[in-house]
């Protein structure tokens, strides 16, 4: 009984290391394939379209509503202290530092990450990847790397758009609906948001989350068991693991950047 438990623990630990090792090797192989992919920008543009442009509607609508909710909730709290002029700061800091990168990453994992994993998993199941290898085409170079670059270009852009649209949403709720003074909304924001400390750090988060989300999605698809069940498992795991990774990393990055 005890031996069995310890054996299970040992098995679990070893398989954890094995998965981490496989994921790292996969990451290095993708990185090695990145330079040669830049010689075929058409592939990358096509991926930016399907990963980035098609996620735009989701990102813009969500950003606007998240900003509006921040504006409403912030107003309700601030008005008790007679500090509703600070609404702009509250909305901007929250979006730029935290909600922009994190919510974009979570939406991205659900919208684009799952699609990537399913697509590559199906390619593997229908033996498209192995046929490429037969024809001496490296699937990492032809299939994985363009998606990797496309994702890493798209997601930081989506983060910026989400943040900007969110601030406009906060302005709509605060200034448009609740009657906060427009001048102090923007001027307090400008006085308290720093380009390097806040905006640039938020963008760094966006880039880090992009790498993590795209890596998880591509790896899960590439390593999927080639069955219908395997693809569904890979898709689910992509979203779940991305969410854990993003939220965990966000805590670490916030601790490093803002404390």
């Amino acid at each position: 009984m005890v031996t069995a438990t310890i054996q299970n623990l040992g098995h679990w630990t070893l398989s954890l290391f094995e998965r981490m090792g496989r994921a790292s090797i996969f990451f290095v192989r993708v990185l090695a394939a990145v330079p040669s992919t830049f010689t075929r920008p058409r592939l990358i543009i096509k991926e930016i379209y399907s990963i980035g442009v098609l996620s735009l509607t989701l990102i813009i609508v969500s950003g606007f509503f998240v900003g509006m909710v921040l504006g409403l909730q912030g107003y309700v709290t601030l008005v008790d202290f007679g500090a509703e002029e600070s609404l702009g700061v509250v909305v901007a800091i929250t979006l730029v530092r935290e909600l922009g990168p994190v919510v974009t990453a979570l939406l991205f994992a659900g919208r684009a990450g799952s699609a990537l994993a399913a697509e590559i998993g199906l390619m593997k199941t229908t033996e498209q990847l192995s046929s490429m290898e037969m024809m001496a085409v490296d699937p990492i170079k032809r299939v994985i790397a363009p998606r990797f670059i496309g994702g890493i270009i798209s997601m930081p852009l989506l983060t910026i758009i989400f943040t900007a649209v969110g601030i406009l949403g906060g302005r709509f709720a605060g200034v448009g609906l609740l009657g906060v003074d427009e001048g102090s909304f923007w001027s307090q924001m400008q006085a308290n948001v720093d380009l390097v400390d806040d905006v640039a750090n938020g963008m760094i988060k966006g880039v880090v989350f992009a790498v993590v989300c795209v890596w998880i999605a591509l790896y899960k698809g590439y390593e999927a068991t080639p069955t219908a069940e395997g693809i569904s498992l890979a898709t689910t795991q992509t979203v779940v693991n991305s969410a854990f990774a993003v939220l965990g990393l966000d805590f670490i990055l916030t601790a490093l950047m803002f404390v």
Binding site: Y49, V53, L157, V165, A191, D194, L195, V199
Partner: protein
């Protein structure tokens, strides 16, 4: 779905991203702040700066003319040295100008308020404002009131 359409959409996407970044830089943060070329720096010594922070506003008659660029403790004078950057279009401060630290609203942020004096000479880069009034520290005032109440 032609290649042309995809490329146009990706181009629009990138333009949208750059516009959003531009908005974050110019409208949300204060990139459009004062640069070295269109401003001059003066400093003032305060006994207590309270909650004044770097980048706090510097105002004259309530109008923002510059910002605080540095706060350090000067061990020779046992006072805090506050450096301020003022826009060149506001270069008419007499040398007997007074600098005070006030609070915007009851709980608002603190700022430096300049009150022009009457001398003919004006402050230039590197000059120091001699007349200053420190920030009001709530605990000190409460302390004074308590002393007054108990002594009387």
């Amino acid at each position: 779905m032609t290649t042309r359409f995809i490329e146009i959409m990706v181009g629009l996407f990138v333009v949208l991203g750059i516009l959003a970044l531009f908005m974050l830089a110019m409208k949300v943060s204060n990139l459009s702040g004062l640069t070295r070329s269109d401003s001059y720096e003066i400093s003032a010594y305060f006994e207590n700066v309270g909650g004044l922070k770097v980048r706090s506003p510097v105002t004259v008659a309530g109008v923002r003319v510059g910002q605080v660029t540095g706060i350090v403790y000067n061990s020779d004078r046992y006072e805090a040295q506050v450096s301020m950057r003022i826009g060149v279009m506001h270069d008419y401060f007499p040398i007997d100008t007074t600098a005070s630290i006030y609070t915007a609203g009851l709980l608002g942020e603190q700022y430096v308020a300049l009150e022009p004096g009457a001398e003919d000479d004006v402050l230039k880069t590197g000059d120091t404002i001699e007349f200053t009034q420190s920030a009001l520290v709530l605990e000190e005032i409460i302390g004074k009131i308590v002393v007054k109440l108990t002594s009387g």
